[in-house]
């Protein structure tokens, strides 16, 4: 960019310039690009998790389009006569037969199916990991709450898209999944049976549902996802990306690389890596071998009937729930389905969506945050996150209890009981342990700042005492460690004000203040700049004294490190 010698323009460059000019005069590209192309983005690998989600979604769209050319969303019964011999002559729906055709008679079809399915699984996995990154670093805080909400909607839509897609081939597993879905709808009090009739246009399975699911799967849900991803990325762009604390990074600047060329090059390269890994896995590892499952028949079911992983937590909840049923006015209320399959996910997703607002309410924090938290520095949030994660993982594991039972020679009943107990105790244990670990790390950070880094060198003082030489931590490190600030919990409100008037909303403010004190209760006091300065001058004096006494040989490297502080 600072080059002064311009080589004579070759034909390629002349062509490029002409094209650019042509476009610029019509679209006004220059003005648009000038402001945006040099926009700075901070850099960290964990910021690429959202990109994995984005790229797998693109791969899903591309391969899905290919599949629509050959898939037939119809449950009309036909006799299969394709090239997969073990199913020849068997009656099945056109949906299933066309999926077999894609797998065995369309060139590249099986690979496309496998890429589509693997990419869908990666999509949801990447969304989840990305969400945890955003959660544990506090990136959802003001002003990014709306983007968090968009994210939660994307997560729910992704689950919906996946479930709809899983049900389309009309194989034995997808049919079993739909039957469970119908059962869940049916469990809704009062309107359940009616809802099933509406969705399936009659009794399950009927002929209407698969064509309807198809429209939802290829049109409605991807359209919504696309629109929301666009909104999501526009918000990231205009609100600017957050950054981790570090030297020279503040709440009001962004330290990183320009969108062009660095960020675009990286992102483009990463797209091809994701696409490549997905294709490689799909070429080597079978997914959803529907030809082995056979066509869906209502009288058939197979051991190992499972949903894809992202529905696994619901499957686990269903398998865990005791068979309770209520009778209200003579109507049975199937708690055993209603609670795990509707109430529980409803609660989980509502809690996730509201979390940023709940935390802001408890902490009373109304500031804007563009610097991320290191998870240890928000000990209570981190512990709550691990608590939720534990709850989810226990449900998830129980979803595969049958496979675990056969693989490890255990009783499925004892696994289920162990998981029930773990579901209740595990999250609390996870909370306590995580909080302890975070506080331990906070304490270590404080020690590092105040006492310096242990160098491993032992000195013998003239008094005969042995001491270890400490060295102040580097400036870069100190900037990261100093990022934590003490926050004062909300004080308890006075019962009455100066004039003896009862404080309005007293109860509500008391609860909030108690929660806020609980939130910050055990935090290790953060190091103040004054403390840091004092501590460093102390370390320096000690070293200087040791040097002057001749105990410590003069080391230019060390004194240089010292004088920098």
């Amino acid at each position: 960019m600072t080059a002064t010698i311009t080589p004579p323009a070759g034909p390629v460059q002349r062509g490029a310039e002409a094209t650019y000019d042509y476009l610029d005069q019509r679209l006004g590209l220059s003005a648009l690009l000038k402001t945006n192309v040099r926009k700075i983005f901070p850099d960290h690998w964990s910021f690429m998790l959202g990109e994995i989600a984005l790229y797998s979604f693109i791969v899903v769209l591309l391969t899905g389009t290919f599949l629509t050319f050959f898939y037939k969303p119809s449950v009309t019964e036909i006799i299969y006569d394709g090239s997969y011999l073990p199913l020849r002559g068997i009656p099945m729906s056109e949906a299933y037969a066309s999926t077999l055709n894609i797998s065995f008679d369309i060139r590249g079809g099986l690979l496309m199916r496998q890429i589509h399915h693997w990419a869908a699984l990666f999509f949801v996995a990447a969304i989840s990991v990305h969400m945890f990154r955003v959660f544990f670093t506090g990136a959802f805080r003001k002003p990014r709450e709306f983007n968090w909400l968009i994210g939660v909607s994307l997560l729910v839509l992704a689950l919906l898209a996946g479930f709809a897609g899983y049900s389309l081939p009309d194989d034995l597993l997808s049919g079993t999944g739909l039957r469970i879905a119908a059962g869940i709808m049916q469990s809704i009090p009062v309107v359940g049976t009616w809802l099933v009739f509406l969705a399936f246009e009659g009794e399950f399975p009927g002929t209407a549902f698969i064509p309807r699911l198809y429209t939802i799967h290829v049109l409605l849900v991807p359209g919504l996802i696309l629109a929301l991803i666009t909104a999501h990325l526009i918000l990231v762009f205009y609100q600017k990306h957050t950054q981790y604390p570090g030297k020279g990074r503040t709440n009001t600047n962004v330290v990183g690389y320009p969108l062009l060329p660095v960020y675009v090059a990286k992102a483009g390269g990463f797209f091809f890596i994701v696409f490549g890994v997905l294709t490689l896995i799909s070429a080597l590892v079978t997914i959803n071998p529907i030809w082995l499952y056979g066509p869906y028949m209502p009288d058939q079911v197979t051991a190992g009937s499972q949903p894809d992983w992202y529905i696994g937590f619901l499957e686990g909840a269903l398998r865990m729930m005791p068979a309770w049923e209520l009778l209200i006015f003579g109507y049975p209320i199937s708690l055993n389905v209603l609670v795990p399959a509707l109430i529980l996910p409803g609660l989980i997703f509502t809690l996730i969506a509201l979390y940023p607002f709940i935390e802001a309410w408890v902490t009373g924090d109304r500031r804007e945050h563009h610097l991320l938290d290191r998870p240890r520095n928000a000990a209570t949030r981190t512990a709550l996150g691990v608590m939720g994660l534990t709850f989810y993982v226990v449900l998830f594991i129980n979803g595969g209890n049958d496979v675990i039972a056969t693989t490890f020679d255990l009783s499925i009943n004892s696994i289920t009981w162990a998981m029930r107990i773990l579901l209740i105790l595990g999250p609390w244990a996870a909370f306590v342990v995580t909080k302890r670990i975070c506080l331990g790390l906070q304490r270590r950070d404080r020690d590092l700042l105040l006492h310096g880094r242990e160098t491993g060198r032992i000195l013998r003082l003239p008094s005969g005492e042995f001491v270890e030489v400490h060295e102040p931590v580097s400036e870069e490190r100190a900037a990261i460690l100093m990022a934590r600030q003490d926050v004062r919990p909300l004080p308890l409100p006075p019962a009455t004000d100066a004039d003896g008037v009862r404080t309005p909303g007293l109860w509500h403010r008391r609860v909030r203040s108690r929660l806020s004190q609980w939130w910050y209760r055990d935090d290790i006091p953060a190091v103040t700049p004054a403390e840091l300065a004092a501590a460093q001058s102390h370390i320096r004096h000690e070293l200087a004294a040791a040097e002057s006494m001749g105990v410590l040989p003069h080391e230019p490297e060390l004194s240089e490190a010292l004088s920098r502080h």
Binding site: L49, I52, A303, D308
Partner: protein, 263 residues
């Protein structure tokens, strides 16, 4: 049924020996057993029953009682038939090593001759399903795999999984993988319904259907995987496991690599 296909079976020689021993009348009865569970009482040779009796007293009577009448440690064997003994002993389930929720498949403790002697002895205790003849079992070679698949999904998949890889039942019981079962064992399992498996009598599942099911299982054993590694054919659970270990592992490693590659 030709002699050539018969000879391919590892158990053909001893079976032939037995067949000659029990004579033409018994042969007819044994083939008949395919259509109606016959009493294998077709007069097995005295020496064979005597040998079986001795083996039984030594290895089985402690649990099943001196005359097979059953004890607290093992059920009565009167009327279980030769097929049941043959299945239990060739799959190594009997003699039971230690009381457990379920007898495990293990290498057999008796050779073919001894097994047949034990079977002859138990068959003599009371009428029960006989060992199906080689020709009846071998019918799977010409049977329809596709029909067998359908029958398998209706009758067997709910316990043994869609690809015969096994599955969990309640209270620590399980339906084992069928990938190492021989056609004769599969046939006998259907005839006798070991433990929590139901009996598939010829009245409800005729011999042609049994042959089709065996054909399907044999096909499963050697069918290649067009999609690549099969991850054990357990369905979405192992797929999810692969995703969260190798799959996401690779992508996150790539993200870290690119993230570190600045400028």
């Amino acid at each position: 049924m030709t002699g050539r296909t018969l000879r391919r079976q590892p158990w053909a020689a001893p079976a032939l020996l037995l067949l000659t021993l029990i004579g033409v009348g018994a042969l007819v009865a044994a083939i008949d057993a395919g259509t109606q569970p016959a009493t294998a009482s077709g007069a097995p040779s005295q020496t064979q029953v005597a040998k079986g009796s001795a083996l039984f007293a030594e290895g089985c009577a402690s649990c099943h009682g001196p005359a097979g009448e059953g004890t607290t440690d093992g059920p009565s064997l009167i009327g279980v038939g030769a097929a049941s003994v043959d299945f239990q002993v060739t799959t190594g389930r009997m003699p039971l090593a230690a009381p457990n929720v379920q007898a495990m498949r293990k290498p057999p403790s008796y050779d073919r001759e001894e097994t047949l002697a034990l079977a002859a002895y138990v068959a003599a205790l009371g009428p029960g399903p006989a060992i199906p003849s080689g020709s009846v079992v071998d019918e799977w070679r010409d049977a329809s795999v596709a029909k067998g698949g359908e029958l398998f999904r209706v009758n067997c998949a709910q316990c043994h999984n869609f690809a015969g890889r096994g599955g969990a039942l309640s209270d620590g019981r399980y339906a084992p993988s069928l990938m190492s079962s021989t056609p004769l064992e599969i046939y006998e399992a259907m005839l006798t319904g070991p433990q929590s498996m139901p009996v598939f009598a010829d009245t409800s599942l005729p011999p042609e259907s049994k042959a089709e099911i065996i054909a399907y299982i044999e096909n499963l054993k050697q069918e290649p995987n067009p999609g690549g590694l099969d991850l054990g054919r357990f369905g979405p659970v192992t797929e999810g496991l692969f995703l969260w270990t190798a799959g996401m592992g690779a992508l996150v490693a790539a993200a870290i690599w690119i993230g570190a590659r600045v400028r």
